[in-house]
Structures are given as structure tokens and as C-alpha cells.
């Protein structure tokens, strides 16, 4: 699971959970998978990303060094920063671990890089 994917995931599919975002990551195995660096691509992708959630996910997986808590206006000119964001957003992959719902504490296992977001029938909301 890339952190970009994590950035889109929520647990508000669970009955009673309203926001369910961002999910906490409990990593067991994390890998870096090379993806071509393209600054324009990173900037465009960032426009879809919730920055605080990405920052939190990067810190939880151990790749948060050098990422600011809030993204300034001129981050696009900061090549160093963009490379770090590229790494966190697209290259970091959580292979094994867990996602935890911030409200209910429900755990979603990650195996072989795939988070299992399936719910039991009684957990499903309307």
C-alpha cells in the first residue's frame, strides 16, 4: 500500500464512524519501490492529497524526516522537499502491518501490500 492510497482510505464505512480519517498506520514491514521522479507529477498529485494525513502517515512509517507539518506556499520550488514528498507519497509501500480506525479502533490488516477493508456484516452502516 502506497501512502497515496492510504490518503484516500477512510473507515467511515463502519456503522457509527463519521469521519474515519486518517487511518493510523501500524507498520510491520515497509519497502521502498523505485518510481521515476517527476516533479510536475508530484505537484499535480499533491493537489489531490490531504497533507496532514500524508504527514502523519509518513511519520508513522518512518519517512517523515524533513516533511513540514503544514505545506508552505512555495513548496514547488523546493527540489529537496519535492523529492522527499515523492518518496513518501509514491515509493514507500507498507507490505505488512495494520490500519487502525481513529474512532472505533477497528483494525484492518495489511498483507502482501494489500489492506483488507472488508467488514463483517454487523459492522456495516447504512
Amino acid at each position: 500500500m502506497k501512502l497515496l492510497t492510504h490518503n484516500m482510505l477512510t473507515s467511515n464505512i463502519i456503522k457509527g464512524v463519521t469521519k474515519g480519517f486518517p487511518l493510523k498506520i501500524v507498520p510491520v514491514q515497509v519497502e521502498i519501490k523505485d518510481v521515476d521522479y517527476n516533479p510536475a507529477f508530484v505537484v499535480r498529485t499533491l493537489s489531490k492529497v490531504d497533507w496532514p494525513a500524508l504527514h502523519q502517515a509518513a511519520v508513522e512509517t518512518g519517512f517523515g524526516d524533513g516533511l513540514p507539518e503544514t505545506l508552505g506556499e512555495n513548496f514547488q520550488q523546493d527540489e529537496e522537499l519535492l523529492k522527499k514528498i515523492h518518496n513518501a507519497l509514491l515509493q514507500v509501500e507498507v507490505i505488512q502491518g495494520e490500519l487502525v480506525c481513529p474512532e472505533s479502533g477497528r483494525k484492518f490488516p495489511i498483507t502482501n501490500g494489500i489492506p483488507n477493508m472488508l467488514l463483517q456484516e454487523h459492522e456495516v452502516g447504512q
Partner: protein, 500 residues
């Protein structure tokens, strides 16, 4: 005047318009016209780039044309029809022209398609003599192994250790079945006696169909001697005829006999030798009431068979057309909420630089999806998989730019709840996760098209079963286009929706 070549490609019904567009855009040629299931193009010699034709993504197979004519005036009776057909074959100059092109681009053809050039090259070194003799030889190969080809074979054996042998043995019945899928017949030109002989033996020497076409060689991998042998064999081209027939003509014809007659004339015209087992060329003749088209395929594998799709669910050209309709822009986020084997996303990934998320609730499908995604490793790979329900998507609101999905047809892939209710929930979920100005490209069965449209327009009829869900707010989607296509025997539609 410069010489020009005619090519044609086959395409699924309804997709010809996309094929035509792709050819015009990528090959920059203007003489393109489409007909039911085929798209024809005329390319001048200077502009001839076969690799561009082979890189087309929306087509099934590509052929260099031998003949193509309007059949309507010749189907009055069998005699007129056959006279015309045989006359076309015996008078055309296109066979040698086609062979020149194929030879010129041989390396181009095979380098890309086949990872086993060495093995295939050596396979072609089996001597081609008269039919009876070559059958004897193949028996010999069966019984004695691979002493036919000297050092080349040895080379091949070395490589073949870790792979199953390329020559497979099938009982005669099975082989016939293999070669004659629905109305297609590849006819055996060997005499009845020699067929008998082989079937007594119980086995025939046949390559598995998927392994067939690589007649090309990578010269870098061969020593001079074997290269000379191959050159020698190349000058004696071998072929077989495959006839596909539909419509009223079919009633008159014995396809086996017809293939044999055509084969005899092609042989007479060109000097090529018939070889049913591992021919270098295949002459495909397609007869319908409207047209007769003959051509030689550029590759033995259909172009729609992608190297990067180990296990594809949906046909790759259809997936490509869906990506094309989605108008993917760099950096966008694309979601397939019921991705199955991730065919659509993997196909998109090879052409558009974006981020892809696929989810499915079925672990087996996801396992196949992992295989497909992993086969992309060397290319730009940006596909992520999530195991989740397609109706309760675990994604936040307005987070993706495009949703693409081969939605359940409620036939092989049954919906868990009533199909009306399923699509109602599904469209509402898509509407929720799409960002403003987002697009959605859905493939669904033709019968379900109206259901999707009425859900989008919010005018479901009262007898619909989904009253319970009616309370939901109307969706912000509008129908941008509906594209009819045929998937085998199934009528289907690709529906494009835009979000405000």
C-alpha cells in the same frame, strides 16, 4: 509512383471507430476506412512502419492484405463464387509483396513478441520436404528427440531445460478440435494415408497454438552457421490456409476442401510449401456474404495479447478503449472499485502516467491482479490494490478524478443484491468519491444501460425495486456518451459520465 501496401486489422464489433481514430492519430495516415469488424489502411512505402501497426492497442490482429473484394455480385451460385475467388488468388501479386514486407520487418515482428527466439528459430529448421517425408521426419523427431538440427538444437535443449518442451503432443481428435474453433478450419493437405499413419501412431507433432508464430531470429544470438541455415529455409516459405466463413455461402462450402483448393493455388502462384504443423505464414481467408478478405497476419499472437497481462479478464483492446474514453491526464487519480484482475488499470498504466487504485472483494481476483501489476515492474508502475467492497467504498468523498469499471453484467458476475438496487448504490458511491469535473467510464451489459441512465437522470420508473434507497439525494452526474460494443456474443455499452 511509389508503391503502397494495404493492411487491415480486425477489431471487436462497435470498436472499429476507436481503431480508426487510433490509426489516424498514431500512424498519421489518412487512407483509412472501416467496415464491420475490420479497419483497412493504405500505407505508402516511405511511410511504412510496421512496428507502429504492431503497437496499436485497440485492435485484435493485424494483417497484410492479399485481396479484398465485394462479394455481393458473386454469391448468385457456387460456381460463380468459386471462380471469382480462385481467380483472385491466382492473379494477385500481393503474395510476394506481402512476403517482402514480412521479411523486411521480421526482426521487428518477433523481437517484441516472443521471448524464445532461439527455440523457435531452431524449430523452423526442421526440414521441409514432401508431405509424406516430412511426416516421417516428425515421427522421427518424436521418437528420437532432437538430433535433427545439430548444434542449434543443442543450444535449444540447453535453454529448454527449465521450460516445458515446445513441441506438444496431442491426439488427432484433440488437435482437430484445437484448430477448428467455430467455423474456422485449417485443413490438412497431407494425404489421407499419411494422416492415417500418424493417427495410428497416436500423436501428431504440433506446437501449442500460443507458442506458434515466431519465425524471426535474433541474429545476435546465433552463430554464423545456424544463421545460414535459417536464411536458406526462409527462402522456402511455408504456409497454411485458414478459412473463416459466415453467411449464406457457408451452406455451399466444404471448408476443408475449399482450404485445400486455395492452398493448392497459393502454392502454385508463389512456390510456397504447405506446412500445417509449424508454418511460417498463415493465409487467412474470411468469407461473408458481403465481402471476401484474405491476408497474412503480421504476428502469430493477436496484438491484443499483451506481454504485461499475465492473466487478463477483460479483453485488452476494450480496456484500452475505456482508458481512451476516460481522457486520463497526467497526475490524476484513477479508481476501479471492482477491478477484478486489474486489466483496465494495468492497460491504462502502460500509456498514461497517473496514479491507479484498484479494489476488489475477491481474494483470488486480487491474486491475479498482483500478477498483472507485477508484470509491469519494469515500466512505470503506479497501481495500488485494496481489498474492499465495491458498494461500500472505503474512500473519502471527492478524492478521485476518474472511476473506471467493468461493472457486473449480472451473468457470470452476479450482483449480491437485486441488480437495480446494486446499480443505484454503485452510481451513488461513484458520485460520492468523484471530485468535481471527474469522469466515470463504465462497461456494462446493453440491457443495463437504460437502468444506469435513469439512475443518473434521477427518473427511475415507479415499479423499480429500489424504493428504499430513493431518499438519497440526486447524483451530480450526467451522461456524456454511450458507446455500443460487442463482446463475443454479448451486447454491451461503454457509458461515459461526467461530474459537475
Amino acid at each position: 509512383m511509389t508503391e503502397s501496401y494495404s493492411f487491415y486489422v480486425t477489431a471487436g464489433r462497435g470498436t472499429e471507430i476507436f481503431v480508426e481514430k487510433e490509426i489516424r492519430e498514431k500512424l498519421k495516415i489518412t487512407s483509412v476506412f472501416k467496415r464491420d469488424g475490420k479497419v483497412f489502411m493504405e500505407v505508402s512505402q516511405e511511410k511504412l512502419k510496421v512496428d507502429q501497426i504492431l503497437a496499436l492497442k485497440s485492435v485484435e490482429r493485424a494483417f497484410i492484405a492479399i485481396t479484398d473484394y465485394d462479394n455481393q455480385n458473386f454469391i448468385t451460385d457456387k460456381r460463380t463464387f468459386l471462380d471469382k475467388l480462385m481467380n483472385e488468388i491466382i492473379t494477385t501479386n500481393n503474395f510476394s509483396k506481402a512476403l517482402t514486407v514480412l521479411k523486411q520487418f521480421h526482426l521487428v515482428l518477433t523481437r517484441k513478441k516472443c521471448p524464445h527466439q532461439n527455440e523457435h528459430a531452431t524449430e523452423n529448421i526442421q526440414p521441409r520436404q514432401s508431405n509424406a517425408e516430412s511426416l516421417n521426419k516428425s515421427e522421427k523427431i518424436i521418437s528420437e528427440g532432437t538430433d535433427q538440427c545439430g548444434r542449434c538444437m543443442r543450444k535449444r535443449e540447453g535453454k529448454a531445460q527449465d521450460e516445458p518442451r515446445e513441441i506438444a503432443y496431442f491426439p488427432l481428435e484433440k488437435r482437430k478440435k484445437m484448430e477448428s474453433p467455430q467455423g474456422t478450419t485449417s485443413v490438412d493437405f497431407t494425404t489421407a494415408a499419411s494422416i492415417q499413419k500418424v493417427s495410428n501412431n497416436g500423436f501428431l507433432n504440433v506446437q501449442p497454438s500460443s507458442e506458434t508464430l515466431c519465425t524471426g531470429i535474433n541474429p545476435a544470438n546465433l552463430n554464423e552457421e545456424s544463421r545460414a541455415v535459417i536464411e536458406n529455409i526462409k527462402s522456402l516459405s511455408t504456409f497454411r490456409v485458414s478459412v473463416k466463413c459466415s453467411g449464406k455461402v457457408k451452406r455451399w462450402l466444404d471448408l476443408k476442401r475449399l482450404s485445400k483448393d486455395i492452398g493448392w493455388r497459393v502454392s502454385k502462384r508463389t512456390g510456397w510449401i504447405v506446412d500445417l504443423q509449424s508454418p511460417e505464414l498463415e493465409v487467412c481467408v474470411h468469407i461473408s456474404d458481403a465481402n471476401v478478405t484474405a491476408g497474412i497476419p503480421l504476428t502469430r499472437f493477436p496484438l491484443s495479447k499483451r506481454e504485461y497481462l499475465v492473466d487478463s479478464g477483460l479483453r485488452a483492446p476494450i480496456a484500452w478503449i475505456m482508458c481512451h474514453l476516460a481522457n486520463i491526464k497526467p497526475g490524476e487519480i484513477i479508481l476501479d472499485p471492482m477491478c477484478g484482475k486489474a486489466t483496465i488499470l494495468v492497460e491504462a498504466c502502460t500509456e498514461f502516467q497517473a496514479s491507479y487504485i484498484g479494489s476488489d472483494c475477491d481474494g483470488d481476483q486480487l491474486a491475479a491482479a498482483i500478477q498483472n501489476v507485477d508484470s509491469l515492474r519494469l515500466l512505470m508502475n503506479n497501481v495500488s490494490l485494496v481489498k474492499s467492497d465495491g458498494l461500500d467504498m472505503p474512500y473519502r468523498d471527492s478524492c478521485v478524478d476518474i472511476v473506471m469499471c467493468d461493472a457486473p453484467f449480472n451473468r457470470n458476475h452476479k450482483t449480491s443484491i437485486a441488480v437495480d438496487e446494486f446499480y443505484f448504490k454503485f452510481i451513488h458511491e461513484i458520485d460520492r468519491v468523484l471530485a468535481p469535473q471527474g469522469r466515470c467510464v463504465l462497461l456494462t451489459k446493453q440491457d443495463l444501460k437504460d437502468l444506469v441512465i435513469s439512475i443518473v437522470n434521477g427518473n427511475l420508473s415507479d415499479d423499480s425495486k429500489i424504493r428504499t434507497c430513493r431518499v438519497k439525494a440526486p447524483v451530480h452526474l450526467s451522461v456524456a456518451s454511450i458507446n455500443y460494443i460487442k463482446l463475443g456474443e454479448t451486447h454491451a455499452s461503454i457509458i461515459v459520465l461526467n461530474k459537475q
